[in-house]
């Protein structure tokens, strides 16, 4: 099972509604994946600034952490608190120093990093997790989300999607990979590191390695058709947009819809029914083994 939702806005006037629209897409996917929920939102980005999404226990002394981060960042860090997650904006050239400070807080995990990407995930049903993080108030150009029914690894926050293995890159997965251990070993040899034993994180890492090697998102996704064995529908977020790929057998369901204002992906059509203008949208099932992508120009 599992459910995926993705929304890419062509009409900038909808950007303020992005989070609310994604929350509305994730909620009906609850019965496909009630174990955990996560989403990545591509919001505002400033050149020279890196956003880190951090996760810590409720007992975390955020003020103490922010004070230490400010010292490393060379000034007070702009931050926003979303339930168990904290988004901090730091000068990109201070990343190493900030990460060094974070090593001193082992209870704090870096959930995601990027110029524009903010990433949130927790155990729980989508309506609950969306509400706790305040998804409906978030804005941006595109976002992807996932509701998980755990199969390959435990129901934990670390096992929740999206998985990110590079700045502004993330991946959500519906399916199960069979050769992820072998691919993980290869990617580790190439210098990537992984946080979990999860198969989907390997797919994210594979895409990251391809992009680092200079390939386009389209080429990276095409390469994954040959390298990754198993069944999957992937939605992959980058700073500029997102891509969709289904395995050649098309084991997992997928629906896409497009209007002049947006492009949307849903595991089921039910996820799309509240999008503005859906009744006049072009609705279709993405073909197996074909790369679809939408990017900002």
């Amino acid at each position: 099972m599992c459910g995926i939702a993705g929304l890419f806005l062509k009409d900038r006037t909808l950007e303020g509604d992005l989070g609310a629209l994604l929350a509305g897409m994730l909620a009906p996917l609850s019965d496909r994946g009630p174990d955990s929920t996560g989403f990545a939102v591509y919001g505002e980005g400033l050149d020279g600034t890196l956003k880190l999404t951090l996760r810590g226990p409720r007992t975390l002394d955020a003020d103490a952490l922010l004070k230490r981060l400010g010292e490393a960042a060379g000034g007070p860090v702009v931050h926003r608190c979303h339930d168990t997650h904290l988004v901090v904006a730091i000068p990109a050239d201070r990343e190493a120093a900030v990460r060094q400070v974070l090593h001193g807080f082992p209870e704090v995990a870096v959930v995601g990093a990027g110029r524009r990407m903010e990433l949130f995930k927790e155990v729980g049903r989508p309506d609950d997790v969306s509400r706790r993080f305040g998804l409906a108030r978030m804005s941006g150009t595109h976002a992807i989300g996932h509701t998980r029914m755990a199969t390959e690894s435990a129901v934990t926050t670390d096992g929740a999607h999206p998985f990110t293995t590079g700045d502004d890159q993330c991946l959500v997965h519906n399916g199960s990979l069979s050769n992820h251990n072998a691919v993980r070993r290869e990617l580790i040899r190439e210098g990537l590191s992984f946080q979990t034993e999860n198969d989907s994180e390997v797919a994210a890492g594979f895409i990251t390695a391809q992009l680092r090697g200079g390939r386009s998102l389209e080429q990276a996704m095409e390469a994954s058709l040959g390298a990754l064995d198993g069944f999957y529908t992937f939605v992959i977020g980058t700073e500029q947009g997102f891509g969709v790929l289904r395995d050649p057998i098309a084991c997992k369901p997928a629906v896409m819809a497009e209007t002049e204002r947006w492009v949307a992906f849903g595991t089921e059509y039910r996820a799309l029914v509240d999008l503005p203008g859906i009744d006049d949208a072009r609705v279709w099932e993405p073909a197996p083994a074909r790369v679809y992508r939408w990017e900002l120009h």
């Binding site: 057998i249 098309a250 369901p253 089921e268 039910r270 029914v273 279709w284 073909a287």
Partner: protein
């Protein structure tokens, strides 16, 4: 005309109302609004009524249908008309995977495309797809007819038994034990009957189709292969 708005009623309530109808009911025309991709709309009907659904439906719409006519003014999700026994199901948009799966009888018409595994394990149903069908369509198809006006995806008719496949466009590869067979007059007549039933009388020339079926090498036991078991 009976009208059910699925924005106000549940699918269970709709189906229960349709299941309560007797064979001699005079409530023969039903309209369903706002399906919003919900699953199992109008499943298990057993009486000759017509149910017209305005919008896209989710999985298994009109599954197990017997005698009823179900019309979807939109797309259908996976397994539309799954295990249909008789009657007619007409999807005016596209159908997702496994359309008409295991169907035993009746007619399924899809105006758009059908995705992978259309007619998988069909057992007597007739399926007419006006667009393309995806890969592995008619996999292990046992009986009935699959008519495709467009193209068929890879591995058409893999491990097929005695179903007949008619494709007007290109078949992008045949599955194990599926071969092209000669199109005789009796096949053209049968195809003509199916095209007419799908409302394509006069529009489509039965002579433009190729016929595919079983080579019957796979499902018969061959004594020469006894050592393989």
């Amino acid at each position: 005309m009976g009208e059910v708005d699925l924005a106000r009623s549940s699918v269970r309530e709709l189906n229960a109302a349709l299941h309560r109808l007797g064979k001699d009911t005079n409530a023969t025309q039903w309209r369903v609004r706002n399906p919003r991709g919900q699953h199992s709309v109008a499943v298990g009907l057993e009486v000759p009524v017509t149910v017209e659904i305005d919008g896209h439906v989710g999985y298994y719409c009109a599954g197990m249908n017997k005698d009823a006519t179900v019309i979807v003014n939109g797309n259908a999700g996976q397994g539309v008309a799954e295990n249909m026994m008789s009657g007619k199901v007409w999807v005016k948009g596209d159908a997702s995977q496994a359309a008409g799966a295991t169907g035993c009888g009746g007619l399924l018409v899809i105006d758009g495309n059908a995705s992978a595994r259309c007619g998988i394990s069909m057992k007597g149903i007739d399926i007419v797809v006006k667009g393309d069908v995806g890969h592995l369509s008619a996999f292990m198809a046992q009986a009935g007819n699959l008519v495709v006006l467009g193209d068929a995806g890879e591995a058409l008719g893999d491990s097929i038994y005695e179903a007949r496949l008619f494709v007007r466009g290109t078949a992008h590869g045949l599955g194990a034990d599926c071969i092209e067979k000669p199109m005789e007059d009796r096949h053209k007549a049968e195809l003509r009957r199916l095209l007419d039933a799908a409302g394509l009388g006069g529009e489509v020339d039965a002579g433009q189709f190729r016929r595919y079926g079983s080579a019957r090498r796979l499902y018969h036991f061959h004594i020469d292969h006894a050592g393989s078991y």
